[in-house]
């Protein structure tokens, strides 16, 4: 025991760099490079605002990821509650003083860029719950108190984010939290019961939705009911993807995107553009790249000795997975349109920041996978 501790504590900088997960690292770099090229295409084959900004963000956030990785996983464990609490404070601050844009208030200006705290919450909630379940005795997992506490941890930020309003992100936060409950060992029947309750109460929930959100659901069910209005985005997205065919229309030749038929092509619909230009082969390739990343994160989780690292890695892997699934299902017309970015690919600093921090902690877990946390 002693020896282990000593070894871990005295690990040198070069050893840390050597212990990074290079498959994960290379995959992330590859994804970043692809994302810059796709952003270049959304700018119409020119290095304009979006391409520049996206590139600068990658240049800043990639070293940040390495920097996060250099901290011992124990450090992240120790500060998890604090980080969660700080992000909650940011959410509170935003709900009072945030920047308003297109009907919602979810951003804060931190001078060098505009921060969206709800994106950070996606990571913070995983850290917080991972720490909670790491410390919780297995006997108490299904106790009333613990379940009440974890549900509060999940729903407090969720409610803040819903009220911004930002349904998409709040669902993703809630799902990221719930997955830790699942991994932590909450009884399966509880999940089943709450799912049934959710289904029953669905009509009530829908009645509380804002009119535009209801419209999105109706549009999802039948996009052709208003092809130039609410259904426009999803119809155009399907046309773009479908017209890509096996090998796509070619780089910078996506007519749907460069003739402006595609809405939100920088952010939520970035995959549509990619898929139009690179076709089925490119799309599946991108999915494989994401699958490798997810698989590497799970692997790091499974070799980690501490439960905190395990829970975080599995939770984060699931979160990445769910972001991808929600985003792709949306652009492929399998789910209603909820604003949700595609990790790394989509334009948006906060989302990229959160994802990079997540990768950083995963890499920290890799470097310190033998570390036990009391």
């Amino acid at each position: 025991m002693f020896q282990h501790d000593r070894l871990n504590n005295e690990i040198t900088f070069f050893q840390k760099i050597k212990n990074l997960d290079y498959i994960l690292l290379i995959s992330v770099i590859l994804l970043s490079v692809i994302s810059v090229f796709v952003m270049y295409s959304t700018d119409g084959g020119d290095i304009l605002f979006h391409t520049k900004n996206h590139f600068v963000k990658l240049i800043v956030f990639f070293p940040l990821m390495i920097f996060v990785a250099l901290f011992n996983i124990k450090f992240w464990h120790n500060f998890s509650y604090l980080i969660y609490f700080v992000v909650i404070l940011l959410l509170v601050w935003v709900s009072f003083f945030g920047i308003k844009s297109s009907g919602s208030q979810r951003w804060m200006d931190v001078y060098f860029f505009v921060l969206q705290p709800s994106e950070l919450m996606k990571i913070a909630i995983i850290m917080c719950l991972a720490k909670y379940y790491h410390r919780l005795k297995i006997e108490n997992v299904n106790s009333f108190t613990s379940i009440t506490i974890v549900l509060s941890i999940i729903f407090i930020p969720t409610i803040f984010v819903i009220s911004q309003p930002d349904l998409g992100t709040s669902i993703l936060i809630a799902l990221s939290g719930l997955i830790i409950l699942w991994l932590g060992g909450v009884k399966i029947k509880y999940f089943i019961y709450s799912f049934i309750t959710f289904l029953i109460s669905l009509p009530f929930i829908i009645s509380f939705l804002k009119p535009y959100q209801k419209l999105r659901i109706l549009t999802f069910l039948d996009p052709d009911r208003d092809p130039l209005g609410a259904g426009y985005q999803i119809i155009q997205s399907k046309i773009a993807i479908g017209s890509g065919g096996l090998d796509g229309k070619g780089f910078l030749k996506g007519t749907q995107s460069y003739l402006d038929f595609l809405p939100e092509k920088h952010t939520d619909f970035i995959f549509t553009l990619f898929s139009e230009e690179f076709g089925f082969i490119g799309s599946v390739g991108l999915l494989i790249l994401y699958a490798i990343i997810i698989f590497r994160i799970i692997r790091i989780g499974s070799i980690s000795r501490s439960n905190f690292a395990k829970l975080f890695c599995f939770g984060f892997a699931f979160a990445i997975f769910i972001y991808i699934v929600v985003n792709l299902s949306m652009v492929l017309g399998l789910l209603p349109i909820v604003g949700s970015p595609l990790p790394i690919m989509s334009y948006g600093g906060s989302s990229m920041l959160a994802t990079m921090i997540g990768f950083g902690i995963v890499l920290s877990a890799k470097i310190n996978h033998k570390q036990m946390i009391a």
């Binding site: 060992g185 065919g245 089925f280 439960n307 399998l334």
Partner: protein, 640 residues
Amino acid sequence: MIKSNSGIRKTDVINRRMFIIGAAKVVVFAAIVARLFSLQINENKKYLTLSDKNRIREWKLPPTRGNIVDYFGNVIAGNLKVYQLHIIPEQVENFNYLLVRLKKLLNLSDKKITRINKLKAELKPWDSIIVSENLSWSQFVKINNYLYDLVGIKPVMTISRNYPFKDVYTHVLGYVSQPNEQEILDNQIIQERFVPGMKIGKLGLEKRLENYLIGTNAIQRYEVNAYGKRINQLEHQKGEQGSKIRLTVDTEIQKACAELLNEKAGSISVMDIYTGDIIAMYSSPSYDPNLFLFGISQDEWQLIRNNPLKPLINKTLSGLYSPGSTIKPIVALSALENKVIDTKFKVKCTGKMELYGQTFHCWKEKGHGWVSLKNAMKQSCDTYFYEVARLLGVDRLNITAEKFGLGKKVLGQYFENEKKGLFPNTKWKKNNLGKGWVLGETLITGIGQGYIQSTPLQLCMMTAQIANGGYKIKPKIIVDSNPVSYEDAKQSMESGLLFDTNSETLLDKKLFKDKKNIKIVQEAMFSSTNERFGTSYKSRIDDPKYQFAGKTGTAQVKRISKRERELDLELEQIPYKDRDHALYVAYGPYINPRYALSIIVEHGGSGSKAAAPIAKKLFKLIIDRHELREQQSNFERITI
């Protein structure tokens, strides 16, 4: 170690649950790949089409109308390059400044400026506004000189309809102008090919032959963005000019007709007595169809509309006149055919005829004395024809008259405004007026007055059918068409519009019982023009090459009162509206005749003074042109 134990257990739980999720992830990813496969591989074609539909938009350009040419290939309705001025609002730096400059350069009216501003508000910034549809060359040059200062304007060359002979052919061709909504809806071809700025036929042959003349649109395909802005041109597909239509008319003769009727109201028709070709068909006064191309001004329109000589009416086809004495050849023929009279039959004319207490006057107060058919026709004795009509009866006369085309449309399907006129009989009066026929009405029908109404073209055809020996002809104004496709050709055959489908043998077209009777009438008409005391003797031509036979007519427009008869006023003393219409029908040359004509001068006075002299001038030209025409007919089916 309890903690450590429970830790191990917890790890197991986490790993087991992770495995379940991992399996779920694989399933979900597979589902997404399946969806991608279905969209991109299975339905690729469908979405590719949709994507092209999104990005490719077609712009139709106005089609070029087919030319209409006369028998000799002279273009009588053609196309002309015109210079237009467009503004492209998005390229303009200062719109108001530009308008001020243009207003000065082109003398635009304030109304026009307001219209341009209104258009600018309505159209997309990249859609061009047409400032002027028809710039003169000097204006075009001026604009080009100042182009550096007029940012955002575009001088454009385009094609417009043109009628080189101006008012000469208006009543034949009609004119083209902007279609209204109803006209677009009514014609599917126009609907398909319509583009703003396109002109369609509004009247006459231009309207009737719209579907042949219209041509197909040139199509430009552009790639457009989501807002409809053109990004780049993909393809230019040339349109096909509409079919060329060749008419039977002769511009030289048509022009001569226009000159002869200058400042008079009336009509001249000339017809080939064998083929039925209409050589000329002029209604006077006429108006310039070119005025309608770019929208006629209110002043010009009022001038045409309010002209007392009624230029808007096509008198040849829709003017209804009493034929007057020009009907006498038919009355004579009918009587001969029905064996009511023979050449020896004589009537004593005392200047009037009494019937049931009513007096029927001959035009010659002193009377003609004893007259036979030949003399009666020569001097146009009314009394003789009163008596013949009385013996013949109106119903028998009606049969002969209708055989020769009176009371029926001549060109029917070509002109919408053609009228069929009226030749009465007893049954007609009973059905339409509810009264019985009176014998007195038979008498005045015998001299072409009363209910009887005919168009100048009917009289021309009637004369032609007497001249050709009494055979039925089918008048036509179109020689051949240049159908764009087999389908078009077939369709035109079926509608009988462009080709004469009449395949009857000459025998079936016989309009007489005894050929001798036709000859008698022809001789009587000859004497009327070429023998002393004939009503048109003064207008005769002695040269047998040009010699013609004819019959004058003077149609009363109102009943002549006793007082007026006694006054016997000179023409100038009678108010214009009350003067008689002057008519003349003729055919020539007398030996081997080929052409027939009818002339009407509204309120011209007597036929012998006002109408017959016109025929004299015209016949020379018609016969002189005959040889040229014959040569041309060898090339009948060749596209000119």
